[in-house]
């Protein structure tokens, strides 16, 4: 990392950093006075270390004491890689999990798929590790409240932050999942459970994005909306419709920083979020999802986001990148056996937003590292 990237934010400075390779994302927030919040986890493709944790270690943060909250927005493997290590290291942090995961069927899935069937983790092992840490904490009577379950409009963190220029309050609310989403969760997880005498396979953690935890973070007058992978379901009682229609936390307020949900996809887009919950020309940050035949965001998605704000940034390129195999035999055979092949991760970037906590208005400074770039150009 360049030296500039490793500059510690000032005590009275807020920071929102989004990390993302082509697959996965992680958010790190400095709420002032050397206190931090970590949301989700992905691995740095170069070091294979959890991105948020690695960044804080490089900055020299006392991780054991300074991280207040670790949020797991949902269980997809692009959001949970390295979370077990993150929660283990952040010994004084409270863990926030979607209430949709507090579910007998989900616990069964974890137990069944704990022994991995592939080298690449499906994300289940991260939850297994997290639950083991919680179990041990209970036994040893440590971390009196090591976790909280996220539901709509729940205050999961509030603390008075002491600054040289005056004190202020930092709060974090969860905006989802809705009650209806929690009810749907049981059926969705039950559909993933294997039956007796079925052959074992790798579990697929696709779908179920309406169980994801969207976050509303307020630090003094600054508001940040983190959309996770929450999508629109077409139903009024789940997804973004439920948030916009029913959340009382967001009513009458507008965020200036927005982590665009679900990698900028059309299904994650709710126009009323932009018109009712965000300031004009909001700072929008997103990470791509480069798996499958339809990587996200698409060109149309990028055009839509660019039309909504002139301050939109993405952590990595969206176009597929091919690896050139140096061995001629491998190169030729791969070309014959595959219709298409590309690198799972296309880049690695950090979007870093900083502002003085006690200043108001659009005072955010944007810094881009690695393959992060603006989508407005």
């Amino acid at each position: 990392m360049p030296n500039e990237q490793l500059s510690f934010p000032a005590v009275d400075e807020m920071e929102v950093s989004l990390f993302g390779p082509g697959y996965g994302e992680s958010v790190v927030i400095h709420i002032g006075n050397n206190l931090w919040i970590l949301i989700d986890s992905c691995l740095n493709p170069n070091t294979k270390q959890p991105a948020g944790l690695e960044y804080l270690l490089h900055l020299g943060v006392d991780i054991q004491r300074s991280v207040r909250l670790v949020v797991v927005t949902h269980w997809h493997d692009d959001h949970v890689r390295g979370l077990g290590a993150v929660f283990r290291e952040c010994a004084s942090a409270c863990l926030v999990l979607s209430q949709a995961l507090k579910n007998h069927e989900f616990f069964k899935l974890l137990t069944l798929y704990e022994p991995p069937h592939t080298i690449k983790s499906s994300g289940v092992d991260e939850f297994v590790e997290i639950f083991k840490i919680i179990e041990n904490c209970n036994k040893l009577d440590r971390r009196s409240t090591p976790y909280k379950w996220a539901i709509m409009d729940r205050l999961v963190y509030q603390e008075e932050i002491f600054l040289p220029t005056g004190n202020m309050v930092a709060s974090a609310y969860t905006l989802s999942p809705s009650d209806a989403s929690i009810l749907h969760a049981q059926k969705a997880f039950s559909n993933l459970l294997p039956e007796k005498y079925q052959p074992k396979k790798r579990i697929q953690s696709r779908g179920q994005n309406h169980f994801a935890v969207a976050l509303w973070i307020e630090v003094n007058s600054h508001i940040i909306l983190l959309g996770s992978d929450l999508e629109n379901t077409g139903q009024p009682d789940t997804g973004w419709s439920a948030v916009v229609d029913n959340s009382y936390i967001i009513s009458g307020k507008r965020a200036r920083v927005f982590k665009v949900p679900h990698h900028g996809s059309q299904s994650g887009h709710e126009n009323r979020v932009w018109t009712e919950c965000l300031h004009d020309n909001t700072l929008a940050a997103l990470s791509p999802f480069n798996r499958g035949l339809k990587p996200l965001p698409t060109e149309t998605d990028l055009q839509r986001i660019a039309s909504l704000t002139s301050n939109a940034y993405i952590t990595a390129p969206t176009s597929p990148r091919r690896h050139r195999f140096s061995n001629r035999v491998v190169r030729d055979t791969v070309a014959q056996v595959t219709k298409s092949i590309w690198n799972a991760n296309h880049g690695w970037g950090q979007i870093r937003l900083r502002c003085k906590i006690l200043e108001s208005g659009n005072c955010w400074d944007v810094q881009l590292y690695g393959s992060a770039h603006s989508i407005n150009n």
Binding site: L293, H323, V330, S340
Partner: protein
Amino acid sequence: MPVNSSVAYDPSRSMTLDPAERPRKIALRYFLDIPPNHDKEGGVNVQDPNASSEPSSEPLRFRSKDGIVLFPPKSAQAQDDFIAIQKWEGYVSHLGEDTFEATLVCLKGEGPDQYAEIFFEDVSDDDRALISIGAVFYWTIGYLEKPSGQRLRASLIRFRRLPVWTRRELANAEIRAKELESLFDAE
């Protein structure tokens, strides 16, 4: 000549044989009178070890205790060698019309994780039935080296035959799920 113990009938080894060929091979191994000079391929040579070391044009053969000459089973003959250059572990994430999509993690060779659309026709008929979402396979690219020394380029996609879920595993998961439920309900 005494029966060479190293190739005597071994029930556990016989289980690895093709079921159609198993009875014949077992019978042969019982009655073979095999000299000690095995070649590196696992085949045996019945020529007199004291004879000239010049290569013989005689075909490879065995002699039973009764003196009947038996040609060796196929498996005891020289086999092809596979020289792997690149190997991935993959899992299927989507099924298309003529291809399946898979994530590939490099086990040998070079390159970062790959995402690929692989043609069904490059999978053997036996393994094609195993292609489903979540199925795990290995893809190896390399050379097939024939006993004659010839080299052929080869791509081998082999799907794993993972065991089935047992009643016991499912019952244990039920117990563990209840433990976790009580852990969180107790708070």
